[in-house]
Point group: C2
DNA sequence: CTGAAAGCGCTAACAC
DNA sequence: GTGTTAGCGCTTTCAG
């Protein structure tokens, strides 16, 4: 392994000069610099980053804590983080928690042991106060989860208003009996989406019927099961708002098995815009989160902290977009109307 | 930041002893060890990993080079890698290439600069000879791509025989006019799957009609487009073998739009068993790769190299499984038969 | 069983 | 502009 000392010797300069050529080339006379550079090239010198990192006490690595990367919501955000990180010379270390909070606590050790310069949490399982105290000591950004009242730099969406918009769309299509399949209600995002649902109904003077709200767990299967349950009650809903796309798809499957047509007999709306929601049959109407941008923004916020720049605004809420597709009938209605006109 | 020196002082021992307690506790007298441990606990000492890594010239980080993590094939493998890595005290650094070969070459620098202890390639874009030479100098494993004749440790599946099995299943269902939508034919996996298709036909004395082979690019849209093309030719196929699930789903969409029923009018088989193939309507018959195991095995192979253990066998080919679901009609036929019997 | 001490390769303050 | 040099915190050899 050729090291800086060797380069220095061959170029007849000191190691300090070699180091300067690498970091502050303008402070070295051109002739010297060229000489050094040519030697570096000649012997194919690669600086030992471990030594540099040790000396400077920085790794240029950031940790991303994620429940599972197979979920395209998370991998979408990670792509944004990766992109922004790479363009600033940072690398992404993946911390998969498999949805276990103890793994999250373990990963924090990487920060404390200085193995990463900062951390982005795509999960909200740890104690908020602990997160808060961590944030005071280390660069940290919370993505996807906005913890009310917690002054930790975060990037999120507004689950409440986005859901409200989705449900209002269903109402505008004439639906009054709208059911909601929620996520696990211990999570803030599930609560937020549930609140949006309630707000939309109340704003439109529609009674919130308890029977029409069923708790799922974000899986396809739970969507399927809760849908069967919803269609078994006396006064069945004409529309379903599921707290994520997987459950929406599960609900569609159940509807089909019950001989119902989606959207003609029952409208379905999801949340997340995962990759396959547009490819599902029918294509799922859903709320699209700006995943890539969320990742980018999170990384930018983290960089500001790492570089010790003042953070003017620490909480960012990015806008979602309601994508009206076939599963809610919004589009089909338009088509029908157009056809009627043209007839 | 409390450091080893501080612990040593408080425990009235030397730094060497503290270090021993951490790495070879059995070489320290129990009383001394307990004293040191209690001080470590008391002052909440966390070793500076950067210093340790520098000193030992190892990072306990491995690099995974991946074209895009949004694809569940890759994220599935990564989960396996992550799992195995974590259980041996290693961490996974993510190198997203966005399908650009220059990013791959850049990432190799991390290895050369000793920022990672090894590398797993989930991509096959670099020059094989370069990969070979890298492999001679650094711990490296090739996953998903098996480069014929290249003696680089690798974990892969047998694309040829797996495809052959899938197509033979279609033949066993009575199909003779079977089309194939390939992946980009510059990739070894696409070629392999194409070969399997040809072999199955030839083995069964079925003519390989050129018109029935169309090149896609692994996207849903290409599956859709190639399907439309295939159904426009004179003697249309009765079954489609797509080189991956996304294209198979695109083909199903096209078939539906043409008013065809899948599988009654046309059978479709895919490859990969991505998360949504079982949730698609109809559920896609596909070849399941053991993704998690591939990741695990790759990591194990890499560890062997890092630890300098002799590698008895360097090329592993894991077995795939044909999952017969609704899209090929295999299951439905059985159902119908049972009903006929019971009637 | 324990301590002293020599570095690992690089950076940066200081001196010239 | 360039060289000298003192560490960064830890591991490990060698001596006792």
């Amino acid at each position: 392994m050729v090291k800086m000392r060797d380069v220095a010797k061959l170029a007849n300069v000191s190691v300090a000069t070699v180091s300067r050529v690498l970091h502050n080339p303008e402070t070295v006379k051109e002739a010297t610099r060229n000489k050094v550079l040519s030697v570096i090239d000649e012997v194919n010198y690669k600086p030992n980053m471990l030594a540099r990192q040790f000396r400077r006490n920085e790794t240029n690595i950031i940790l991303v804590v994620v429940p599972s990367i197979i979920n395209t919501v998370f991998s979408g955000i990670i792509e944004g983080i990766e992109y922004e990180a790479a363009s600033h010379g940072y690398r992404v270390l993946l911390g998969n928690t498999n949805r276990k909070v103890e793994n999250e606590y373990n990963l924090v050790d990487l920060l404390k042991k200085r193995q990463t310069d900062g951390m982005i949490l795509l999960s909200e399982r740890m104690d908020p106060n602990y997160i808060k105290s961590l944030s005071e000591e280390y660069p940290l950004v919370l993505a996807t989860a906005y913890i009310e009242g917690l002054k930790v730099p975060s990037v999120s969406i507004d689950n409440v208003s986005s859901s409200r918009e989705a449900v209002e769309h269903l109402i505008s299509l004439g639906h009054r009996e709208i059911a909601h399949i929620t996520g696990p209600l211990q999570f803030a995002i599930s609560k937020g989406r549930y609140s949006g649902y309630r707000q939309a109904l109340m704003q439109n003077n529609i009674e919130v019927r308890n029977m029409l709200v069923q708790e799922g767990d974000f899986t396809f299967e739970s969507g399927y099961n809760q849908m069967l349950k919803l269609m078994a009650i006396e006064k069945t809903p004409t529309a379903i708002f599921a707290a994520n796309d997987e459950m929406a798809m599960g609900a569609v499957k159940a509807a089909k098995e019950l001989g119902l047509d989606v959207p003609k007999d029952i409208a379905v709306v999801g949340f997340d815009n995962i990759t396959f929601s547009s490819k599902f049959d029918p294509a799922i109407t859903t709320v699209a989160q700006p995943l890539f941008e969320m990742g980018q923004k999170s990384m930018k916020l983290l960089l500001q902290q790492i570089q010790g720049k003042p953070i003017l605004k620490s909480q960012y809420i990015l806008e979602c977009e309601l994508l009206v597709r076939d599963s809610c009938g919004g589009k089909i209605k338009e088509k029908v109307m157009n056809e009627e006109i043209s007839t």
